[in-house]
Amino acid sequence: MSVAESKQPARTGFWSDTGKSGIGSWILSTDHKRIGLLYLYSVLGFFLVGVVLGVLLRIELMAPGRTIMDAQTYNAVFTVHGVVMIFLFIIPGIPASFGNLVMPIQIGARDVAFPKLNLFSWWLYTIGALIVLTSLFSGGGAPDTGWTFYVPFSARTGTNVSLAVFGVFVLGFSSILTGINFVTTIHRLRAEGMTWGRLPLFVWSLYATAWVQILATPIIAITLVLVIAERVLGTGLFDPGRGGDPIMFQHLFWIYSHPAVYIMILPAMGVVSEIIPVFSRKPIFGYKMIAVSSIAIAGAGSLVWGHHMYTSGMSDRAVMVFSFLTFIVAIPSAIKVFNWVSTLYKGSISLEAPMLFALSFILLFSIGGLSGLVLGAAATDVHVHDTHFVVGHFHYVMFGGTGFAFFGAAHYWLPKFYGRRYREKPALVGWALMFVGFNITYFTMQVLGIRGMPRRYYDYLPEFADLNLVATVGSWIMVTGLIIVVVNLWRGLFWGESIGENPWDGATLEWSIATPPPTENFEEDPVVTHGPYDFNKGVGIP
């Protein structure tokens, strides 16, 4: 590998124009592009860890009874799979990596508002991740509570919950700082002529996301502090034997963790809103509605946390209110889907890799969203609560939604930053395998859930055996596709064909500057004269 690397010509742009090299020029850099790539490598690394754990879970569930691990290990593996995927991959995933890479350029800025804070938040992410990883191999062993850390079990289990929870606390702090940075950047650093009505929709989605990060994350922070206090000091605030109430933990936890799913999905919707018009050669349909629906999702999504708790013992009235509000969130989500589909209508569609991922986002997110309504309706939720139906639903929106959008963004934007591109054919094959395997795995899980298979169970009744085998085989197909996609991307970005400034004929500002972009992005501060999807006029600078 080192021989091949030495043969390739030196990268231009921000890779070399500072004149500095070595590890220090990365982990101490305040350039938003370098920090974006640091995040990208980190989240991608943890994503692959999470994938391995997920595959192990599927292998264990391939047949009833013990297959490859004992029950305690199984509990630890699904907990760690959840913690890694949620807190280390999908929450920072798109905003911290692609948001950092692309957003400042898209608004015509030289960097984010607080570059040092940006670097600090990556360091906090790294420290938090290391603490979480340490918790797996020290103390009482890997946490076995599930990623939700529900009391009373999390207050009593002998596993290393305190350290893991503290790690998540630090990660939350990192997320808050990124949110503050992005809101300030979007308010203060837009180029001349970059009005709110000309912001690319990816920026709008990051803006909405950043507000959720700012307003929701502190609640999980205090909740986690309380769990640690419960374990270390024995405060008893959630202990029913001492007057506390475990339901209050669930409220506080979901006041953050439900909005957090919008931290995960909104940036993905932004990515799709960028890719669809470019590969349809048509201005986005309903720009304003898509922009406003991001804010509406962030707002309404902050009021629906109770739908995780229909069976926890809330009053019936609360259940009805939360159910009603949950259905409200479906409206702005549907607005987005309909506008994307309208953009496709009579467009000149080219089915290249980013577009395939974006299109599969629409389909998979729709399936996930509709199954979400099954869970949002109290009457049906009671039947499928805590079954594999929930697991299937969640993976449809999070992996089928955000995960596919993440890889769409990788195929769409990474060539711009590396100056080289992947090969198209392996990308298509990888995508197809991922898409087919994905549906086999998670649709089967939804069927299993409807039939009554509970989630987080180590063992199950023999009648579920066939479908579990199908789901496991599906996961192998999916992972095969994933490996092809990642290897193809990696090879392409380092040894692939060179590309020019604007390989997709996009009209947002990142396509107007050199490939790879120079440090500080713009030679001269740009002046924007028209909107981001006006393809006839080209990129937004005259």
Binding site: A113, F114, L189, I219, T235, G243, D245, I255
Partner: protein, 200 residues
């Protein structure tokens, strides 16, 4: 490549205000718990609240309000270019912070001496609402105390920068942000004091 130093005081203050929102929400979680448990255990909360020492609480309120006043005066002083006065006023703020923590220490010690602390035999055996009240009391005032320490450290660091001249009449947004943070610490206490010491 044109390299420009970019400073944006409005942006810096916007970022600080956003951060203060997150701090308010952090304490907001505890205030939610307070509200719910007060509604559930009004009598126990009332009885337990009467065990807190209003005199200590009132003195600390005055001390913190004074510290905030001095911090605000420091901002005006640096804008007038009076470096020595700025440092003196910030030192006054830090002095108040120290007094606050010392009083808090005596207050907590007295409680612990009487067997009131999280998980103590007295609270475990006592009424459930009492245990919840003091659990919340220690977590809330403890977290607030941590913020006093952090705020004091930030103002101390800013004070040395004023003293060395790196913060001055023209460049003082860091001092302004630091004092904003200090006002937040004060503000949170303004809610804690009546909720725990006065209304019960």
């Amino acid at each position: 490549m044109s390299h420009q130093e970019h400073t944006d005081n409005i942006g810096a203050k916007l970022g600080m205000w956003l951060f203060l929102f997150t701090e308010l929400l952090l304490f907001g979680g505890l205030f939610i718990l307070y509200a719910v448990y007060l509604a559930r255990y009004p009598h126990e909360f009332s009885a337990a609240g009467k065990e807190l020492n209003v005199t200590f609480g009132a003195i600390n309120t005055v001390v913190l309000l004074t510290s905030s006043l001095l911090a605000a005066m420091a901002v005006t002083a640096i804008k007038r270019g009076e470096k020595g006065l700025t440092v003196a006023l910030l030192s006054g703020t830090l002095g108040c912070a120290l007094i606050f923590l010392v009083i808090k220490y005596f207050e907590w010690s007295a409680k612990i001496h009487h067997g009131i602390y999280p998980g103590s035999p007295r609270l475990v055996a006592g009424a459930p609402g009492e245990s919840v009240f003091f659990g919340l009391y220690y977590i809330t005032t403890g977290l607030h105390g941590v913020h006093v320490v952090i705020g004091g450290a930030v103002l101390g660091w800013i004070g040395t920068r004023v003293n060395s001249g790196s913060l001055n009449q023209g460049n003082n947004v860091a001092l302004e942000n630091g004092t904003l943070y200090w006002h937040l610490v004060d503000l949170v206490w303004i809610f804690i004091f009546p909720l725990y010491y006065l209304i019960l």
